[in-house]
């Protein structure tokens, strides 16, 4: 029983990590339907930003996040303006272009760092809280709390603020949104920027528990797509739930079946959901087509 509980907690905390990595993509892919394969590399940039801030300026990740996340967000705005916007109705070309960005970013960092893995020193990662027999890493718990807070914040932003409502309006019908006086291009720019900044934030938050390599984004990108599709495109709480499901499945599969197969198992779950219910668990049926139907 304790064992199951331990694995469950481990899975939930891992789910927090996946959820955190996915919130940005949920906004970019789930809400404005941009297929951004370079999202994992934005997480990677966040991690390196945090590393350099720690090593050169002595900043703790929890301070440097206020510097790094906006910087990555700015990079996102540039990507949106220069690469995505000219391709806004061509999802296949978006796949190509963002995959090209993925290769570019990953290998520029590889050339820059010469492939050595880095990690942020200090003892952030080693603090463990014990409740009974259950051990919880403090950083992972904090990650979980941050994921939850961001999810709540994003939900409120999209449903309660006029800017958030304009984001949803643009998703549903660009032309109608334009006639309502919404600046569609600006909304896309902003949404992509926020999504990128959230990826940067995720990267910073993960530095105490993950070692930093140029290829680290590859660990997250398919997981993030899986989480976003699993939970339901554009559904903020769906992505949160999707993250937890992926985390728990991975933990249980890793513990009870075979650690080597854990990724295959959640990929299979992802594929099954994608095929049976492409709108995801909490997405509206038909949501997967919204935003692709339109031509202008």
């Amino acid at each position: 029983m304790d064992q199951i509980l331990n694995v469950l907690v481990m899975g939930l905390l891992l789910g927090g990590v996946y959820g955190l990595v996915s919130v940005g993509l949920n906004l970019i892919f789930g809400t404005v339907r941009i297929v951004n394969f370079a999202q994992g590399e934005l997480v990677m940039f966040g991690m390196y930003g945090s590393y350099y801030a720690y090593n050169m300026l002595g900043m703790s990740p929890y301070v440097s996040v206020f510097l790094v996340a906006p910087a990555v967000g700015l990079l996102g705005v540039l990507i949106q303006r220069l690469v995505i916007q000219p391709l806004h109705n061509e999802s296949n070309m978006q796949i190509f272009a963002t995959f090209g960005l993925l290769m570019m970013f990953q290998n520029i960092m590889l050339a820059f760092t010469r492939g050595e893995a880095r990690s942020v020193g200090g003892d952030f990662g080693t603090v463990v809280i014990e409740i009974g027999d259950i051990k919880i890493g403090a950083v992972r718990l904090l990650t979980f709390v941050i994921t939850t807070a961001i999810t709540i914040g994003l939900h409120l932003f999209l449903t309660r603020t006029i800017t958030g409502k304009s984001v949803r309006a643009v998703t549903q019908d660009k032309r109608a949104a334009r006639t309502m006086g919404i600046n569609v291009e600006k909304t896309f720019l902003m949404t992509f920027g926020i999504g990128a900044a959230l990826a940067g934030l995720a990267g910073v938050m993960l530095t105490p528990i993950y070692s930093i390599t140029p290829g680290v984004g590859g660990n997250f990108i398919l997981a993030a797509f899986a989480v976003v599709v699993l939970g339901g495109l554009g559904s903020v709480w769906g992505a949160y739930l999707g993250g937890l499901i992926v985390g728990v499945v991975e933990a249980f599969a890793g513990y009870y079946i075979d650690p080597a197969l854990r990724h295959a198992i959640w990929f299979l779950i992802f594929l099954v959901v994608l095929i049976i219910r492409p709108a995801g668990l909490m997405g509206q049926v038909g949501a997967e087509e919204v935003g692709f139907r339109e031509q202008n």
């Binding site: 297929v35 690469v83 000219p86 391709l87 061509e90 999802s91 296949n92 070309m93 978006q94 796949i95 190509f96 272009a97 995959f99 090209g100 960005l101 993925l102 290769m103 570019m104 970013f105 990953q106 290998n107 520029i108 590889l110 050339a111 010469r114 492939g115 140029p214 398919l222 797509f225 899986a226 599709v229 075979d258 080597a260 197969l261 990724h263 295959a264 990929f267 299979l268 992802f270 594929l271 994608l274 095929i275 492409p278 997967e288 087509e289 692709f292």
Partner: protein, 351 residues
């Protein structure tokens, strides 16, 4: 012209109407153009037959050109953007490696059954995924590629796992292992000639027209009475069949395979698509042209820059991908066609 029986193939009838209107040349013109293209593609092989460094690049260019052309059948003609062709490539490769090392069979005998198996697998996994459109299809195929990677690593009693499989050097035609590089180059040339030949045939066949119709507008194609799913499955099976054949040739050329060489997206699944895109997606010659441009360029970058700055060659390739997506959506072939049209407009006058 007076025989207008409906039983004649669609392509033939279309060609009979008016070549300029249908955009389709007569069968003999098509054959001549195909032979001219392959003749042109064969020239480097003739001129550089003594240079082992270049022969290696040429052989690889033919192989990748053939694989890209195989991807182009479903990705270009059919518009189904698969990133999971590594799965079929891997089936061909593993069947060949296991068949030759464990059972001592000749790769020639393995090639076709392995390709048939890949075609069957492709239909099996595509049947549900073809419900998905656009990026969702691409992501799903990418997930299949990852599953294949994990499985190939895991079932090491069959695949050798991360250690891979090494095929011992036993030269001989029956073993598909050759002493001379040019023999491999000829083999790869035969492969690309086959795949391009299939593309030429397909472009003129009923199946090819249906694939184009599905790509242009799935709903309209369905409204015209086309069984969209069946057409997509046929196109995918053909594409997977040829891809697996390429997997066999790749394995016998390298004589070593492991999961990363077969399933790394940027070297396999995405590379096929990239070569087609650079050359001209959905055109007959585009994939080969893309390979002819990118494979030697990549070799050059790797030789010149990779030692100084690891990874910089891939970064440049990535940049190229972004630029191609932005400014050359129809590839080199498309850019050339645009140029011809522009010259005609500018200097052709009103005639």
């Amino acid at each position: 012209m007076n025989k207008t029986n409906a039983s004649r193939p669609l392509a033939e009838r279309a060609a009979a109407v008016a070549p300029e209107v249908s955009g389709l040349e007569s069968p003999s013109t098509a054959l001549w153009r195909y032979l001219a293209l392959m003749g042109l593609a064969g020239l480097p092989l003739v001129f550089l037959a003594k240079d082992p460094y270049w022969l290696n690049i040429i052989a690889f260019t033919y192989l990748m050109g053939g694989l890209a052309a195989a991807w182009n059948i479903i990705g270009g003609f059919g518009g189904q953007f698969s990133l999971g062709h590594g799965v079929f490539f891997g089936i061909g490769a593993y069947a060949t490696a296991v068949g030759t090392t464990t059972y001592g069979a000749s790769p020639w005998l393995i090639m076709v059954p392995a390709a048939l198996a890949a075609a069957a697998v492709s239909m099996l996994i595509s049947w549900p995924t073809f419900r998905l459109r656009g990026p969702f299809f691409a992501i799903a195929t990418m997930a299949f590629n990852e599953v294949a990677f994990v499985l190939a690593n895991h079932f090491d009693s069959f695949t050798g796992g991360p250690r891979g499989i090494m095929i011992p050097f036993k030269a001989g035609f029956a073993n598909m292992i050759f002493k001379e590089r040019w023999q491999y180059a000829v083999l790869m040339f035969a492969f690309v000639a086959l795949v391009i030949g299939v593309s030429v045939w397909l472009r003129r066949s009923r199946l090819g027209y249906y694939l184009l119709a599905v790509r242009e507008d799935e709903d309209a194609a369905r409204a015209c009475g086309i069984d969209v799913l069946a057409i997509k499955l046929k196109g995918m099976a053909l594409s997977a069949f040829l891809t697996a054949m390429g997997g066999t040739l790749f394995t016998m050329y390298l004589r070593f395979i492991d999961p990363p060489t077969l399933f790394t997206l940027q070297d396999v699944g995405v590379k096929f698509a990239l070569l087609s895109l650079i050359g001209g997606v959905g055109t007959v010659a585009g994939p080969l042209l893309g390979a002819a441009l990118i494979v030697p360029f990549e070799n050059f970058l790797r030789a010149e820059l990779a030692n100084a700055l690891p990874g910089i060659n891939l970064a440049i390739l990535g940049l190229l991908m972004v630029l191609a997506a932005l400014f050359m959506k129809r590839g080199v072939v498309g850019a050339f066609e645009d140029l011809v049209a522009w010259v005609k407009r500018k200097f052709g006058g009103r005639s």
